[in-house]
Symmetry: C2
DNA sequence: CGTTTTTCCGTAAACGTTTACGAGAACACA
DNA sequence: TGTGTTCTCGTAAACGTTTACGGAAAAACG
């Protein structure tokens, strides 16, 4: 059924060594025989057995991305990742690498699955997302010396790995600036629980900007919830029930904003009219919601491509002649003004 | 760095054969030595090299799911799949199988990536989604005899593979019934372009129900668009500009409904008030939208688990003593009545 | 005690690659 | 003609497993 290198060799009456060399484009093979091998490979529909190749090479030539459903009800998570993965996969494919996405079980935060990928040597490197402020996955990977890169920063692991992040701190501050310029003084911030780093960064920017404007930070206007619709829905009434309610809310996430707007609607409060709403991470949902939500758009597909480059550059085996180097980048978020603030 | 079976053997002063047999739980190994091997494995942090194992066994013990971004602008696609994959992965893990998700490039409809997975023997079977009415992927897989299962039906490939689908036809009819019972006669249907089978099935149910109620099917009330927000946004005005506009719209998809509602809002038409809206595939988006959209909820996580079972049952190597059998199921969709109709 | 059976383990081949090594042939050069 | 170089290819080992086979030791049985 599946043709191997032996089949080719037998078919052409040459040795398997020569076939392999021809296929791999090595110099010490006659141009004529190489062509015959290539032709035969096409004819017999040969393609190399990954297991055999990986075993011999000691490398799988594939990169794993850990996709993690979050705990909470109804996990419809992360449309966010699709364009990122598209970019990642496109760039990896250019270097002949495969991208595989590994699903974790909800809740265990990937530790078990990550160990499995690393220990069974299923991939040569891994890409992590949803970085936390202190991230045990990063600790683990640095400890065992497994190559990886992260979408998002963390305090764990020092500067030993490539990372690409968005400037949530600046976005948080910019959102506050914008709202203050429009006359708001009571501004709420709603972010995901779990100590996801982007929630932390966002809040840092929010706080800093408020102080800069001479506005006291009111803990009653800051709330955490699950990073989904239910979370936003559940937590928004909390801040609205403050004795001096906010006139504006910044949501960290589109799903939380959707849930929050639902809660507001049920309280008879109209976003964009009775209250200003800004979303930090914009998605098509924000654009097509009514009112269209002002937000900061992440260039996800380019980010995927870039992180692939950065990861490859950090691995000696894949880095070009200039040698391995660790690159860390923080990209700006661009505000898309719409109708909700 | 990575310890192999040879390391264990050397460490314990026994042969690698015995180590392997002990690890794999074979009968012909002394209980005492087995325990010693297990202890040593834990101590040396041994875990088997996947490539070596796959090469020898001729099986990878992993299942691939093809995740495909659709063509169109901004691909944020498919929160839909996360809970499905969660269920799939959970069930596969129970049998010691790994789930890997393979990303395709947008546009090529997976053919290239699929071939790659199959030919390099990266997985023992594959799970397909977004089945089309005539599906070249299914033709290909049946032709080469590679095991697979599909989420969704297709006319391709006969009954040679397990499939699990939702009863979109019945849902389409039920939506029409419900709207007619509420006095509607002009009912539009908006579904994805591409010949995705669920769009076809939905429309079949819609047509049948209309006829049953003695309502003529008006082609001007049926429209296709990209299966995302932009698609719904673009196509909804078309049906509304009909000389006898609809009083109700059934959307095939939540993202299309979101875009459609945006278009309606811009025309000054309020869903749930001026026009009835029903969504066939419900997601949290529908629940938290204002007005909350009536829709049919798919039990995604159980579907993932079930399809895993069905796939395993169809593969001789994995099927139990009762032998391989092909199971095909169509599950009902449950209507969740909300405020939009 | 002799024979048979059982228990346990070592040996070695095999899975499909890649690659270091060496050798034969052709060629160049003196 | 002798020596050295270049081209091209075959041989065989290696990657980490699993497993068929056989054999030694122990146990069972008469």
């Amino acid at each position: 059924m599946a043709s191997s290198i032996h089949d080719l060799a037998r078919h052409l009456n040459i040795s398997i060594g020569t076939v392999s060399r021809a296929l791999n484009g090595r110099a010490d093979v006659n141009a004529d025989t190489r062509q015959r091998v290539l032709d035969a490979a096409a004819k017999l529909n040969y393609s190399p057995n990954q297991s055999g190749r990986s075993l011999r090479r000691g490398a799988t030539h594939s990169i794993a991305f850990m996709l993690q459903p979050h705990p909470g009800d109804q996990q419809y998570g992360e449309p966010f990742f699709i364009p990122f993965l598209t970019g990642l996969q496109a760039k990896l494919a250019e270097s002949g690498l495969d991208l595989i996405v590994v699903m974790g079980a909800p809740g265990d935060y990937q530790q078990e699955r990550l160990r499995r990928v690393v220990e069974t040597r299923r991939a040569d490197a891994v890409v992590l997302a949803w970085t936390r402020r202190e991230d045990e996955r990063i600790d683990y990977l640095t400890r065992v010396g497994f190559p990886f890169a992260t979408l998002g920063r963390s305090r764990s692991g020092g500067k030993s790995y490539p990372s690409l992040d968005l400037d949530f701190e600046k976005a948080g501050a910019e959102a506050v600036d914008r709202l203050v310029a429009r006359g708001h003084r009571r501004i709420a911030a709603i972010r995901p629980s779990l100590n996801l780093n982007f929630g932390y960064l966002f809040l840092a920017g929010y706080r800093k900007a408020l102080r800069r404007h001479g506005i006291e930070v009111d803990p009653g206007l800051i709330a955490d919830g699950f990073i989904n619709e239910a979370g936003g829905y559940g937590v928004t009434p909390q801040v609205m029930r403050s004795k001096d309610p906010p006139t504006a809310i910044i949501f960290n996430n589109d799903a939380m904003a959707l849930g929050g707007c639902k809660a507001l609607a049920e309280m008879g409060i109209k976003p964009g009219h009775d209250i200003a709403v800004i979303v930090i991470v914009d998605t098509p949902l924000c654009r097509y919601f009514s009112p269209a939500l002002t937000g900061f758009r992440p260039p996800l597909e380019p980010m995927g491509r870039r992180l692939a480059e950065m990861l490859l550059a950090s691995i000696p085996a894949f880095a070009g002649p200039e040698g391995a180097r660790i690159i860390r980048e923080v990209w700006p978020l661009e505000l898309i003004a719409r109708d909700s603030d």
